[in-house]
Structure formats: C-alpha cells, structure tokens
Symmetry: C2
Subunit: 337 residues, 2 copies
C-alpha cells in the first residue's frame, strides 16, 4: 500500500509532517509518498536515515496552496502545487490514497477537479469522527464539502457514511440519524422534512432525528447526516463550547487552589480530555464521494496528527472502501482488494 | 408595569413558577399576572401571604399545551390554555409583556396567531443571550422561530437584534456578525453569500462573518445573525460540548483524587461554571418581530430561572422596546414609554 501525503499546505512546517509520515510508514509498514518541496523532504529523509525510492517517495512540487487562497482559483492557477501534484498521483494510480492538511475547500475542489465524483453520487461529503462519552466514536457527514444540499444529497451522505462505518470501522448494520432541531418527524426546516421522508423510505437503518445537544455525551446513531453548512456549524460550535469550558475551568482551578498543586493534578486530566475531544489530534476526515481515497487532515496537524490521518487512509485502503463505494480510479482497480 | 407569566406548560410544577413570580414581583415592584389553573395559583399566593387583585393577578385557564403537542394544532384546539389566554391578555393590552416556559414552537405559533407580526418584519426571531469568557454577553438571533429563512429575514434579525442591544442592553451602536463557516466574504452557502451582501449594504454596523468556534470564548460581535435552524443547531451543539466536557471532568476528577476531597473542591467551580454557561439559568429569550413583548423561558425553568425571564421582559418594557421596534399593541401605545 502506498499513501501520498501533501506536506506543504498545513499550519506546521513540512519537516514536521514528513517526520510524522516516516514514523507511521515504519510503524505500519506502508509506503509513503510526500508531495512538496523536494529539498526539504529529502533533507528530513536523510536525517532519519532513509532515502527516497524505497519505502518513502518524493513527488516534487514547487507551489503551495495557502490556507486563505480561494479554492477553485488556487487549483486552476497552481498546477505545480503539492496538492494538485498529489491528487495527480492518485488519479494516475501511482498511490492508493491522498492525505492533506491543506485548505479544506481546496482539497474538495481539487479532488472534484482531478478525480471527479463517484458514479451515482451527486455531491461529496466530509465525514468527521466525533468522540462520545460512551467510548465509541460516531461519524458526522457532511462537515463542509457541500454547503448547499438537496435532500437526495443527504441520503447519499447517509449511504456513504454507512458503507464507511461498516467496511472501515467494522460496525455491522450501522444506524443513521438526521441532525435536526427537534426529535419528532416533521421538525426542522423543509430540507429536513424532505430528507426525513427519503431516509425513512431508504434501505438505510434510519433511527430518526438526532438533536445536537445529544452529541458527544450520548451516541444516538453510528452515522449522523447533516448538510455541509449545518454539519460544520455543529462541529465548530461543539469545539467552541469545549474550548470555552476548559479555559474557564483552568482559570477557576488556578484561583481556587491558590497554588500550583491543583494545576499539576489537573494537567493529566486536561491532556486526556483534549486528546479525546480535539479534532486536531484525531487525525483525518475522509472526503467521500470523489473518485479516490482522499483524507483531509486538520490544518493544524502536527506529526502525531498526520500519522493518525495516514492511518485513517490506510484503513480505508485495507477495507477496500473504494470498491464498496464504487470508486473507479486505476489504482483501486488493481490494489483495492 | 404588569407582566403575565404562563405557569402551566414548563417542566416544573406551576407552584414553583408562581413562587418565582412572587419573588421577582416583590423584589422589582412589578405586577405579575399568572395564567393557569386558578386554584393552584391562588393556593401559592395564599401561602405566601398575598392575595390576587393587587400586585398579583390570576388569569384562569383550564387547558395546558404540552411540550410534545404539535404547535399550530395545539394553539387552535386549546383556546382555554394558559398560553392562549395569556397571549390574549397581551393582545388586549391588559399586560405589558408575556413570559412562558412552554413549548417554543407553540409560543411562536401562538404569538403569530394572536399578536401578528410587527409591520415591516417578515419573520419573527428568538434572540438568545450567549455568555462569553470576556464577561459580557452577546446575542444570537434566530435560535429557532423561523427554520426556513431568506436573506431579507436575516437582515431583519440583525436589525431587531441591534435595536434590542441598544435599547434594552444599552450597547451603543452595536456590531452585527453573520454566523458562517469561514471568515472571508463569499464563504458558506448561497443564503450566506446573499445575506453578507445585504448586511454590508445595510445601515447596520456589520463586522463580517463569525465562526462558531469563536463563540463563548471570544465575543466577535454584539449580535450574531443566523437562520433559525442553524442558530438552534449552534446553541444546542455548544450545550452538548459543554455538558460532555463537564461530565468527563467530573469522572476524571473522581478517579484522579481517589477521595471526595477533590469533588468537594470542584463543586463550587462547577456551580459557577454551569450558572454562566447554562441557558436554563440565564432566563428568557425574547421573541422579536411579533406584535408584543414575548419572552420564551426555558422549559426546564425553575423559580430562579423564571424570575430571570420576567426580569428580561421587564427590561424590555422599561426600555420601551415596543415603540423602538414598531409594536402596535394597545398596551404599548399607552404604557410603552
């Protein structure tokens, strides 16, 4: 298995991401191709006692798509960017999956442009893992690939999410919930009423509406379906709530304990808490519906997070997700199984 | 000033809400009318050494709109409910404001049905106060009155929210942000692109897009505009994130300290934290755009929360918000100033 990692467009320097890639490549015994500035990549490989061409590969790219670049224009104008080159490798079948911590909009636009959509899937969706206090993750789709959705798009998100949960996560017969502002049928806006109807009539294991305050603390379904705008607002709002409460607690504790003892005692708690909640540390979010395995890593990904994103990609490849979703890229034809 | 409190439709027994009403009535020197079961109301008044007809009044109602009643049908079928009777008192000009902890959908439907909309306002919006770590609240509108919005509706939410912030809260020249999934202009879905344009061209002090993860921890604007579906998802997601992190911390602390000492030390911290974050304890959310002063209290309102909701209503009355928004109910004509 060979996974391509775009090392240029994230918030952390490419060196750190290359290190993360080397570590997971060794640990998991998978080949990693790095797209980006060849000198910077080669120099980290040399430092780590590796050379390109065996387990690790370099895909040279002279341009970088920045976080604030307008996605569609950036894809068109920066044809020698690490993102466009990397997707080209996936399209050509040289690698099995593509992982990038770049501008989400650019990864989506680039994937649509290079790979196209899977046949029969009207719109792509990004699936984000959400931790739950019950222990097992659930999966929210879409969190931002498609901001204007029709009901049919949401049903396809449910279908792709179910395939993912079953094939990659190993959840038998996964349940699907609809993110809505009330529990009963008929709640919400017109889009939700229509989507509810279609989901109920579908072959999916639909369990009805799910409300946002139930997420994290409970696990109302394996897959939660939302339009990309709403899913993104939901994810960011949870993040905001969690950040606020941790800051606030940190202040209170400092005040209350009047010494550093409390802070020390709490440090471990906070670390495990943030690791569980933080989207950053939890690696990659699969972009489903494009014609290839694409994983979007958080822009703030460090070496550890990038390893986790690659791990997500490798599990998709191992599970032959391409085949199950109907991806028709050359690589998946030969190596998907 | 006279404020009507619907004591029947919440999660807590009417007796508790009547007590809350008596307390705030005495404390603030305002008259409170209670709509609901007259015997239960009179009995609490008697116990508290009060009698109806002076500071406290009873508006008898034999029916109750339940939390799970379908709003529009409930309003039509239960004409002798505490909610419909209470709104009738407001419509007739017998009271200055209406406060209810009932089914939000039913309060919205009932307000539209009894009072109608303010002239020139296409859709009503519920304004929810959000605490921030910077100390001062900000205001999110709409959090669920109008689930299907056009751009013009959102501009009106911004306008009504600004009037509220200026007149009731006392914020001079309040800023308005648009809840969106990216910072730059052009981000988000079609509705957001259109709304951004209209807000920029409006006479409001528009500061651009605001992202959900900035809320609570920061205070990007005085007023945050959202369509009712998205605003509700945002609010509930924050609530979910906060609840999850507090449960998780409580568990970790219990485990870490191995004794009840830690729990005792943390108790005060949690109490103040939840008081600041919890929507429940923060009283009422004004329903703006209907032709009268209506405040929606949380269904889970206890005596303390109901006092706070009445306080919100009284501040709207004191600030002559009706006049500023263009409300034309008989009471505001005579007593609004």
């Amino acid at each position: 298995m060979r996974i391509l990692l775009d090392v240029m467009g994230g918030d952390h320097p490419p060196e750190e991401l290359v290190k993360g890639g080397i570590e997971i490549g060794r640990h998991r015994g998978i080949e990693i191709a790095f797209s980006g500035d060849p000198e910077r990549i080669e120099s980290v490989l040399a430092e780590s006692g590796e050379q390109s061409g065996r387990t690790f590969h370099v895909v040279p790219a002279s341009e970088v798509i920045q976080m604030n670049d307008a996605p569609v224009r950036a894809i068109r104008d920066k044809s020698d960017s690490s993102l466009v080159r990397g997707l080209g490798e996936l399209k050509a079948g040289h690698v099995d999956a593509f992982v990038s911590p770049a501008n989400t909009g650019a990864v989506v636009a680039g994937s649509l442009f290079s790979l196209g959509r899977i046949r029969g899937v009207p719109r792509p969706g990004i699936l984000a893992p959400l931790p739950t206090l019950e222990g097992r993750d659930m999966y929210l789709i879409d969190v931002g690939a498609t901001a204007d959705c029709h009901a049919e798009h949401l049903v396809h998100f449910g279908r792709m999410g179910s395939t993912y949960a079953q094939e990659v996560v190993g959840i038998e017969n996964p349940t699907v919930g609809l993110l809505n502002i009330g529990g009963e049928e008929g709640k919400g806006n017109r889009l939700m009423a229509k989507t509810y109807e279609l989901l109920r009539e579908s072959d999916l294991r639909f369990v009805g509406n799910v409300e946002a305050h139930q997420l994290i603390q409970h696990r109302p379904a394996d897959i939660i379906v939302a339009d990309g705008f709403v899913g993104n607002i939901c994810l960011k709002s949870i993040e905001g709530g969690v950040s606020a409460v941790t800051s606030m607690l940190r202040q209170s504790i400092r005040r209350l304990f009047l010494s550093k003892l409390g802070a020390l005692l709490m440090k471990r708690t906070f670390a495990s808490l943030r690791a569980a909640i933080s989207y950053e540390k939890r690696g990659g979010a699969p972009l489903l519906g494009v014609n290839g395995i694409v994983v979007i890593a958080h822009g703030r990904s460090n070496a550890e997070a990038i390893g986790s994103a690659i791990d997500v990609a490798s599990r998709e490849v191992e599970a032959s997700l391409s085949e199950k979703l109907g991806v028709t890229s050359p690589r998946s034809d030969h190596h998907g199984g």
